[in-house]
């Protein structure tokens, strides 16, 4: 055929406006679901400034474009999507609320919004970023020597190095003060012996922040991958956090240079301050998981018809569940924003963060269960994200201070009486 005009050519390339919008075959109900656009019942967005909204937009778009297409298969195959690390690093997600050393210097509210969006995708992705930033970069940033900071922080920020945090032991979870791992001073070295478990990113890490008992109390150490006497293995058989690496670390006469001790951290308050950072991020993150469950159930209830060709959203029992969820999500958002503002003003205390973590995880878990219920049998399949969030949130309820322990922290705060023992 002769070109009808000057310079005309025929090709198979179109802009978005020219693309075909025809659906092939009969789409399933899943295909009618809208992409995630956030949940805002009470104009909570009016509490965020321009920068905060842009940060959330970047994280939300990244999760939608990069994680959502792969997360179902990752979860089935028990694989962490490590291919996303370089781009998350480039966007500034790793150690986002730290200043300098290549870090983005975000406020705590901006950091929280990133966690929310990542966990809207999957708790495993949020856990990776939480551990890298709050449990590895933060202790080096807060307690490390200048040399340790110069060496590790740029590498950890850029994703060139991955880190993990070794506090929990097989016999000591909620009671870290009982830890059995020891570090003994031998000449210019420290010699570590003991075992750590339930360590996120363990086998994937180039460096482990390990807490051990010394003659001088509990101290933190940087142990590099490949150090003789240091071995790692993965924990298999998880029905939760399947898109996250969970490992055990073992130290058998593991000798490290004395310069690898964190000079600024002495006693349990070192690791506990890291946990406060991470728990703060969880308090935001689980809102994302709750939003995803609620929004899936809300959209589903409008599409799904059952009696008299009417959507199940027309039933009072369904509406009551949606009303409960949106109310609890809104309260969780307000709690998180307020905690974030307090943290930015350096007024937040660990007992405040306990309330944030405990409440928000609990309502997120309940939202996941109610949403699963509203989807009926469809709710148990991996066509929808709900069962995945539900299983993940069972872990989130336990890790970084269990629901029970945080209740006791709040109880101690209001009564002055500690009930841990």
């Amino acid at each position: 055929m002769i070109a009808p005009g000057d310079g005309w050519i025929r090709e198979e390339q179109h802009g978005i406006a020219g693309k075909s919008t025809h659906l092939n075959g009969y789409p399933t109900i899943e295909k009618y679901m809208q992409p995630f656009r956030g949940v805002d019942y009470l104009l909570v967005d009016s509490l965020f400034n321009e920068e905060e909204l842009l940060v959330r937009q970047t994280a939300r778009q990244f999760v939608e474009d990069r994680l959502m297409p792969v997360i179902r298969d990752c979860y089935r195959d028990a694989r962490f999507p490590s291919e996303l690390i370089p781009e998350m690093a480039r966007l500034g997600f790793l150690g986002a609320n730290l200043e300098g050393y290549g870090c983005a210097g975000m406020s705590n509210v901006e950091y929280g919004l990133i966690m929310q969006e990542l966990e809207r995708g999957d708790s495993g992705l949020r856990s990776f970023v939480s551990v890298q930033g709050a449990l590895v970069m933060y202790p080096i940033y807060a307690y490390g020597s200048e040399q340790q900071k110069q060496h590790w922080l740029p590498r950890l920020q850029s994703g060139e190095a991955i880190g993990c945090f070794g506090l929990t032991e097989p016999g000591f979870g909620s009671n870290p003060a009982g830890m059995k791992t020891t570090a003994r001073r031998v000449g210019e070295c420290w010699v570590l012996n003991g075992e750590k478990t339930w360590i996120t990113n363990g086998t994937a890490s180039q460096v482990a922040v390990v807490w051990a008992r010394t003659d001088d109390g509990i101290r933190g150490f940087l142990v590099e991958k490949g150090t003789p006497g240091y071995t790692t293995s993965d924990i298999h058989g998880k029905w939760s956090m399947r898109a996250s690496v969970t490992s055990s670390l073992a130290f058998a006469d593991c000798k490290i240079p004395s310069a690898n001790m964190l000079p600024g951290a002495k006693g349990l308050k070192g690791p506990l301050s890291c946990l406060s950072q991470a728990r703060y991020g969880i308090g935001w993150g689980v809102i994302g998981a709750a939003m995803d469950c609620y929004e899936t159930a809300r959209q589903y209830s409008i599409i799904r018809k059952q009696f008299d060709d009417k959507p199940i959203a027309s039933h009072q029992l369904v509406q009551e569940k949606l009303a409960w969820m949106i109310t609890e999500i809104t309260k969780a958002q307000l709690l998180a924003v307020h905690a974030g503002r307090l943290k930015d003003q350096r007024k937040i205390e660990p007992a405040h963060i306990s309330m944030l973590k405990r409440n928000n995880v609990a309502i997120a878990l309940e939202c996941a269960r109610l949403s699963r219920d509203l989807l009926g049998a469809n709710g148990i399949t991996d066509e929808f994200p709900i069962m995945r969030h539900l299983c993940n949130l069972e872990t989130v309820k336990t890790y970084e201070g269990t629901d029970h322990i945080h209740a006791l922290v709040i109880g101690e705060r209001v009564t002055g009486v500690a009930a841990y023992k």
């Binding site: 050519i9 390339q13 920068e51 937009q57």
Partner: protein, 256 residues
């Protein structure tokens, strides 16, 4: 190369649109806004050209005070500075009036290349860009799918219809209206968002620009599409139903 990218803020594509009480526009109190989609691609094209050729990208936005959010996004993605023609109710102006405002804002800039989206997602005139080219006295090309810098100008690829494209060579300065999908959009990095706080946004008003646009457009009524088709089921034995159908096709639809 100095590149000006014209961006517009529009209601988010998946907003729940409700007509306001007066029936003249959509309820905008609880709407969320975003950058007009083709404009996002125009901005990306401008940023990529700057990265290859060097120079500067200036974002130009005409819109209400709330459009500052969209301007901030352009700066966070890498625009060097921005011009904000801050006027409320610009929807009442036709594309000519709007292009006059934008041309006035650009007289001091003397850009080598002006990029706009091919049309807006809300009003969709598709005219503002080409009128702006006329007012600036520069050549233009529309629905652009590819831009290459070459000796003495640029070579662009236009999307036509039915799989046809056209290559055009043109001198600079010039104006292009960009088609969605021409490139891959970048995210604003957290560092970029932080840096955007320190970038210059120059605010201009119609009065300062010496342009007194007239409100030429009045929306008489806005309404959701009204259902006008009805389905009829023809009952009875197949023979009778077929006879009824033929009768309807002959006398009502008049297609037989």
């Amino acid at each position: 190369m100095k590149i000006v990218v014209c961006i517009k803020q529009v209601p988010s594509r998946d907003s729940v649109l409700r007509v306001n009480a007066a029936g003249t526009w959509i309820q905008d109190a609880d709407l969320t806004y975003e950058i007009n989609e083709p404009d996002a691609y125009a901005l990306e094209e401008g940023l990529q050209l700057k990265e290859k050729q060097g120079g500067e990208v200036v974002a130009l936005c005409a819109g209400p005070a709330g459009a500052a959010q969209t301007i901030r996004e352009a700066l966070a993605k890498g625009a060097d500075r921005a011009l904000h023609i801050e006027e409320e109710n610009l929807g009442a102006y036709d594309p000519l009036a709007l292009a006059r405002l934008m041309a006035a804002a650009l007289t001091a800039e003397k850009p080598d290349l002006v990029l706009t989206g091919l049309q807006s997602d809300d009003l969709g005139y598709g005219q503002t860009g080409v009128i702006l080219a006329q007012l600036l006295g520069v050549p233009h090309a529309t629905i652009i799918m590819q831009v290459e810098k070459q000796e003495g100008g640029i070579r662009v690829k236009r999307e036509l219809e039915d799989g046809w494209f056209q290559h055009v060579e043109m001198p600079l300065p010039a104006l292009l209206t960009i088609q969605s999908g021409i490139n891959k959009l970048r995210y604003a990095t957290l560092m970029g968002i932080k840096k955007a706080k320190t970038k210059e946004v120059k605010r201009l008003t119609a009065a300062e620009l010496g342009v007194a646009p007239e409100a030429t457009i009045r929306f008489a009524r806005i309404y959701l599409p009204e259902k006008s088709k009805h389905t009829q089921i023809l009952e009875g034995a197949p023979k009778e139903a077929a006879a009824k159908l033929v009768e309807k096709l002959k006398f009502e639809a008049r297609v037989l």
